[in-house]
Symmetry: D2
Subunit: 290 residues, 4 copies
């Protein structure tokens, strides 16, 4: 993880475009000409869709250039490639808002990992439809905003939340077992920037109460899935999944207990990957440069 060496002059390029000859050469040339030394380069070509994906991390210590100057310089190349892309200074941390309801395990996991420096994030705010977890947020010194929601008030409350998110310059939202379904409008505002944790091995056990479904089906393995939120529930691009063995001895409560460990680890990993700019969305799927 070169990311730990986040010197002030480390940059990341995340780019996808139609595949063609010379892309790596042109991009690495661009970096080299500006005094950059590539520390890490991952690339992938979707062999079916013929799309090129790349993540490059480089240091440019000897060459003084701002991120916006670099973007301006790169723009003509990106246009030629017909690319989707971002360039980021690694020192510029992703600003995060966490949405929670009443379960504490995913929130605590993120707060604690953040407190020991595992994430390249600014954990800016926590938003909840309940007050239960306010004390936990306070222990870690993160502002906690309560927005009670009913089916009647949902539309209005979401607008208030969006307003707060914008004022707080939030880049990415993490749903840490948030028990409300977001509206399509809300999701559209943070496209591929809302990370959810679903407590099953998707696409098995979509929807509510997956542990009950798993118990009744008698599976021998349970899972958890972190994915970007899209309009269709539990169908967004999968970022990370993990599993745990269960047996006939495990009650529904045991599945919930074991599942908690999966949920917090899988969500934390997805957040780390996202914050380090390691994920590119490829249609309904993801490319993860781990």
């Amino acid at each position: 993880m070169i990311m730990s060496e986040t010197s002030p002059q480390n940059y990341i390029l995340l780019l996808s475009c139609p595949d063609r000859a010379g892309l790596v050469s042109r991009i690495s040339q661009f970096i080299y000409e500006r005094g950059g030394n590539i520390l890490d380069l991952d690339e992938h070509v979707d062999p079916v869709e013929k799309i090129f994906f790349v993540r490059v991390l480089w240091s440019a210590e000897k060459y003084s250039i701002s991120a916006s100057e670099l973007e301006d310089a790169f723009r003509p190349l990106a246009k030629e490639f017909d690319a989707s892309w971002i360039i980021r200074l690694t020192a510029r941390k992703t600003r995060i808002a966490i949405f929670v309801s009443r379960y504490d395990h995913c929130l605590l996991e993120i707060l604690w990992r953040n407190s020991i420096g595992e994430f390249a994030i600014d954990l800016a705010i926590i938003i909840s439809n309940h007050s239960d977890l306010a004390p936990l947020a306070a222990q870690y010194g993160i502002p906690f905003h309560i927005f009670p929601i009913t089916s009647d008030t949902k539309e209005k409350v979401e607008l208030q939340e969006l307003d707060l998110l914008e004022k707080s310059s939030i880049d990415t939202i993490v749903l840490a077992r948030y028990m409300q379904v977001l509206s399509s409008q809300f999701v559209e505002s943070y496209k591929n920037r809302i990370i959810n944790i679903h407590h099953s091995f998707l696409p098995a056990f979509v929807g509510s109460n997956p542990y009950r479904q798993a118990y009744e089906r008698g599976v021998k393995i349970i899972g958890a899935t972190s994915h970007y939120v899209t309009e269709v529930l539990d169908e967004g691009p999968i970022i990370e999944q993990d599993i745990m063995r269960v047996s006939h001895k495990d009650t529904r409560n045991d599945l919930v207990r074991k599942g908690r460990d999966l949920e917090r680890l899988v969500l934390a990993k997805a957040l780390r990957l996202h914050a380090e700019h390691r994920i590119l969305v490829n249609g309904k799927k993801t490319v993860v440069f781990d």
Copy 2:
């Protein structure tokens, strides 16, 4: 695995019945009075359905008694308990028929493991709707019967197969990537005695071409599931599952390649567990005393 010590006088009891006080005491007393020394006892109580499950393995070296005498002696107790049960001499191996089509990996796996003594089975016959794997069967000296099947002939051919199975005194059928759906009548004849391997992590990706489905969904983990066959496709009681990590680098062919390893290991494990009388069916689920 005490099973490897299959002395001529080792017995197994597999029993399920409504739960009540004194079951373990009464059963272990029954064994003790007949000179048995319990080598292994596993029991489970379904806490929701209040059903008792037990598997007992004991040696009765000092006491000469036939399996049928033992069954006669146990019958009154079983009736009192309202139990489903079997008693088996471990020396009496389960007779197996394998059904295959054209893929060789699951068949080779079973043939090889059987050749080095991993299974407590008599591998009696192999049945196929194609001739491709006849040479492989010949290498291991197992009779290979070809029953070509079309939608028109299916009903008639199944009757011929059932006839052969009966003549061959088959206890259990293993579908080693057999590409035909068995009729309800066929399944009913071998209830909870047909073991299938499905090349996905059920209940995800039911039906045909699960690797294509998995590839298109962009999952980060693929699986395989071995289960008893019931009338409803891919919904029988699950015996064993396992998984493997995949990434954006894996093509559909890679999923197939990785999946082959899962399929043969999971099916082999299910067969071993079944042959050692370690599985009890509990409605739509299984109790596996591993």
Copy 3:
């Protein structure tokens, strides 16, 4: 996990003795005669050493008997069997002392799990040779005792600690990344009742700095091991182990980060198993009735 149903009249017997015929029968008879209904029974016979191990959980709701009366009644049987044994009311929780130094991850894991009721323990006290984690203990309301240690004061300080442990009626000590080696005398006082977490896959990388050792050896998998502490460092009976994949991309810091997750999960599992009386020591090994 029937343990979650800890009614006031649930008992556990944990017993080991030389193997002989009739043990399960005699023990289950003893329970049945006293109105007990067996909820869970696990047994194992070491096939080499010919030792019998059993754990029985039963409810005795209809029959009023104290734990000490039950022990008195069982004593003659245990003597006849030449057994090591305990009988415990499940309502009588194991009293725990945690020893820590400066790392917070294992302590937080135990404190949090305890706060949501995952453990059958009374978390009585935390002992540390540093003050760093006092605020964390305070958040969860657990008394925190600081005993600074130098090589000169070690002997004296250990006596003070033992005094506090005795006054606090501690059953079991958990070393949650405690960075001091306990003396033989101390270990002897809590034989098979001190649980340690070692941050490697034992017996690989014994001793100090296992992550550095693992990094230099270039392993592709790292592990963590929880074991009972004995006089010889890192050689006590292993309770639980788990692993995580690593690659050439992982720096030493990455190994430490990934290892933290292993350490806290493995130690938490070992504590849960111990507190639920699921572990019997068999010489240098353990029998774990999971």
Copy 4:
């Protein structure tokens, strides 16, 4: 795995050299100028030793150039970089010799996988100090050479084997549970080109009978390790490892049975990675571009 698309004009470069700015740019420029389209590029910089590693796969369909012309053209660049490197046509398969003794599981695994096209190899010959596996080799049509070995004849026999290997143009040797220790001279002749499977999770349980060692230590997980052979037994650079859970129920025979599955899967994976030129040796460790 783009490797499956082994068109006649696909090349692989595998290179390591001291790190410096511009390496990716210079190399990708070299390929681009010769009409190549990069299909896959993996690079890694050892952050401690400051060494650069890269694997590039490219197609050069529109440009007719032989492998030796390409090597000649690249040589000046490699010299400038002070690099270790190879360039290979993917159509030029690695020639393999397998060494076996009496265990069949690893040999069968490789023969079967090779028969269905999983490996980019020419499986040229099998060498054994026993005749037991000659029939298995014959089934798959691979020449089988028997070289009986005693401590007296070892030196002489190894020379004969080396002679046969040279005549057969062998690139890489696979020790598929070969029960002889190779001499230093022999190892030196195929440096980083002899792949071994050790039946433990190295560095735990070095040397003979690791399953007995594992059984006696009471580990909860067993493993297998594939590595390049060096002069010091079981200390070569690790290519791949995997593990399986075990418990007190598992006898030594069970460990052997479970271990067989690990051995054959781990060795097969190591061979596949090696044959696809995905491994670079970094001192006592490996860089594996999986």
